[in-house]
């Protein structure tokens, strides 16, 4: 009956309780959404880092990590691969030659890392093959070998032209750009640009400042045309220290959420790169491993480190501590948001509970007079506070769950800041997500807030003298 009594006590003053419930619900909705968006970004960043960039486990010659020289390859690749093939927690393994090179197109030159891969092996480890936005993935059948570069590298190497055509207006409409914007850019039809800056200058002259900030990058992206099949000459230092160059054809452009990665990494057939660098087929610089489960990465890493003490075996957390930090502290940061919100809401709950106690002084005096002990009085007030908080919490979290379920599918588009996000390695479209553990943690925090908020009002009630309380009018 104490639970039922507490619940009914909350609704004595419906308006007041509803205001507090609404405040808690809105506050928690904001908190949960913030946690969800943060989680979405972190999950995406961690996922993309692992599946596009670093894999779960990396093996190197330890000296290669100190001085990334061509001849510092792994000496026992075959033994390692023989073991990884039998490990049940290993899903895919890719042996990579990894070299620094100078890449020269017909219009520009840049330094980058070229990865010699076996496309079949690599597809089990990296999702770059799914990120191709123009052309094809590394194909080993062409006479002039293929190279796949990132979109940012293509920009740097000036392998992009910008052409504005009538067909591209349809694409803009398909991408749901406002008709007003499309109509404005129609003025530029049949124009073409070699530089993005020139295109943006023209776009800026026909759009308002806010529309330019919002749509310029998307327009540039639609108008861009990669100059596929153009030649790219890579110059590397071979294992004997001499410089070697090789002509490649740019047959694919990939784009990940990390523009820095896209600017700095190119992929070619491993056998071509091995020949160019004077390496034997089993002489690679990196063995990248993807496990069946992210949680298995450390145990696989430990096992391999024990079996192969002469090589460096690192899990993703060691390879990229900043990504591990994101993963580790993402939830923690989210909870800090929620704690701050609940801390602010606690004052509202205290105020409501205090008013509720002061309005019932005579009744509380009667309860104490007839024999309700102080523990029960305290529990009753605490339950009221917890129930009030939980009601708001459930409404807020329920609302958040529905909205997050929708946004988890549709994503939230922050395209206006896409370049900034890409520079930090984050996608401009975030898919908020929140786990059951987060909901449990938030529920515990809500209950704790309710308990803490009840302390002062409950103390006020416990200090009542039944005789004086019964005299209250």
């Amino acid at each position: 009956m104490l639970i039922s009594l507490s619940w009914r006590n909350i609704w004595r003053n419906k308006t007041r309780s509803m205001i507090v419930v609404a405040a808690i619900a809105v506050g928690l909705f904001g908190g949960v959404m913030a946690v969800g968006i943060l989680n979405g970004w972190i999950n995406q960043r961690v996922h993309d880092s692992i599946y596009n960039e670093i894999a779960h486990v990396q093996i190197h010659n330890p000296e290669y990590l100190l001085n990334e020289e061509t001849n510092l390859y792994i000496n026992n690749t075959n033994e390692i691969l023989a073991v990884t093939d039998t490990m049940k927690d290993v899903k895919g393994v890719s042996a990579r030659i990894r070299l620094f090179c100078m890449a020269q197109s017909d219009r520009a030159t840049t330094g980058m890392v070229v990865m010699g891969i076996n496309p079949t092996e690599e597809e089990k480890v990296s999702q770059i093959y799914r990120k191709i936005i123009a052309g094809e993935y590394v194909d080993t059948t062409h006479q002039i070998p293929s190279i796949v570069i990132g979109s940012k590298a293509a920009e740097v190497l000036k392998l992009i032209n910008y052409r504005i055509t009538t067909e591209k207006m349809d694409t803009l409409l398909e991408q749901k750009l406002p008709e007003q914007i499309v109509d404005s850019v129609k003025l530029l039809i049949d124009k073409s640009y070699r530089k993005k800056s020139a295109l943006l200058k023209d776009i800026k002259s026909i759009l308002s400042k806010s529309n330019f900030q919002k749509y310029a990058d998307r327009l540039a992206s639609v108008f861009s045309e990669y100059r596929l099949n153009k030649s790219l000459v890579l110059t590397i230092q071979s294992s004997n220290g001499e410089l070697h160059y090789q002509l490649f054809k740019v047959r694919g452009i990939y784009q990940t959420s990390n523009s820095q990665f896209d600017a700095a990494n190119a992929f070619v057939d491993r056998s071509v790169l091995a020949k160019m660098a004077g390496l034997k087929p089993n002489q690679v610089h990196q063995v990248a491993i993807i496990c069946n489960d992210m949680d298995k990465a450390q145990s696989v890493s430990n096992e391999l480190a024990k079996l192969f003490p002469t090589v460096s075996v690192r899990s993703w957390k060691q390879t990229s501590p900043e990504i591990a930090l994101y993963a580790q502290f993402g939830d923690f940061m989210g909870l800090i948001y929620v704690v701050i919100i609940l801390f602010a809401l606690a004052f509202g709950i205290i105020n409501t509970m205090m008013m509720s106690v002061l309005e019932r002084i005579k009744e509380l005096g009667m309860l104490m007079a007839i024999g309700m002990n102080k523990v029960k009085v305290f529990i009753m007030i605490m339950l009221e506070s917890v129930m009030l908080s939980l009601t708001g919490g459930v409404v807020g979290m329920g609302l958040s769950a529905v909205i997050l379920a929708i946004l988890g599918h549709t994503g939230i588009d922050f395209s206006a800041w896409s370049e900034g996000f890409a520079a930090l390695g984050f996608s401009s479209v975030v898919y908020p997500s929140i786990g059951i553990i987060d909901y449990i943690e938030i529920t515990v925090l809500v209950v704790l807030t309710g308990i803490i908020s009840s302390l002062w009002p409950a103390r006020r009630a416990l200090k009542l003298n039944p005789i004086e309380a019964l005299r209250e009018e």
């Binding site: 009594l5 009914r8 007079a369 007839i370 024999g371 102080k374």
Partner: protein
């Protein structure tokens, strides 16, 4: 053995460093089954005496025994527990919990005593039947008249199976007919079930029905 024995009780208050004596040299014995009215003008010490008998306050000197327990020696949870199991209270302004139904108000005290749900429901129903309100078990206090609310309060007081019921001005907020009905009912409970009632009152109707009248004046019993 008397239900209540009050021996040489004195109660003084210190108000703004002035000593005010509310009760002086009170000696009183109340036997089981009595229907006693404590009367006197305002400030005569009626409520103070009732508070002392109910264990809500402590005498400055003297002893109070309820049954075989010296109430003046009890403290904290023992005192609260004693009130819960031995004393029934009826208040001037009913003091029912507005969010509970009549039946739940009666059940509340038994729940505090730890009576199982099914049993307390049965007892609450029979008590409401006794005060003529069985059909209002589920009614909220706001749906009952003042007289009906006070009847529920009497049922609630009976629910703890107390040694006696202390009723502080029970008819003060009731109209004539309701007060008359309530007194009839209490008298019936006293006669049929032997319930001991102690009233503090100004109401002449209560005094007329009382079997014994204790008159207090300036904190002293003038007539008993």
């Amino acid at each position: 053995m008397a239900v209540i024995e009050v021996i040489n009780v004195e109660k003084t208050y210190n108000e703004s460093q002035i000593k005010v004596t509310a009760l002086k040299n009170i000696n009183l014995t109340i036997e089981a089954g009595e229907f006693t009215a404590i009367v006197g003008p305002s400030g005569s010490g009626k409520t103070t005496l009732l508070n002392l008998l109910g264990g809500l306050d402590k005498p400055t000197s003297g002893r109070i025994r309820v049954g075989d327990v010296w109430v003046d020696t009890l403290k904290g949870s023992k005192l609260i527990n004693f009130r819960l199991h031995h004393i029934g209270f009826v208040f001037q302004s009913y003091n029912l919990i507005p969010v509970l139904s009549a039946g739940e108000n009666v059940e509340l005290i038994m729940q505090l005593q730890g009576v199982p749900a099914a049993e307390r429901r049965k007892i609450a129903y029979s008590l409401l039947e006794k005060v003529g309100l069985a059909d209002r078990y589920k009614s909220k206090p706001s749906q009952l008249s003042g007289g009906q609310q006070q009847r529920v309060a009497v049922a609630r007081a009976l629910a703890s199976k107390p040694n006696f019921i202390l009723a502080d001005e029970p008819t003060a907020n009731l109209d004539g007919k309701s007060a008359e009905n309530l007194l009839q009912m209490m008298e019936l409970l006293n006669k049929d079930d032997g319930v001991t009632f102690i009233f503090s009152t100004h109401d002449q109707r209560v005094v007329n029905r009382a079997h014994r009248v204790v008159v207090l004046e300036d904190g002293v019993i003038k007539e008993s």
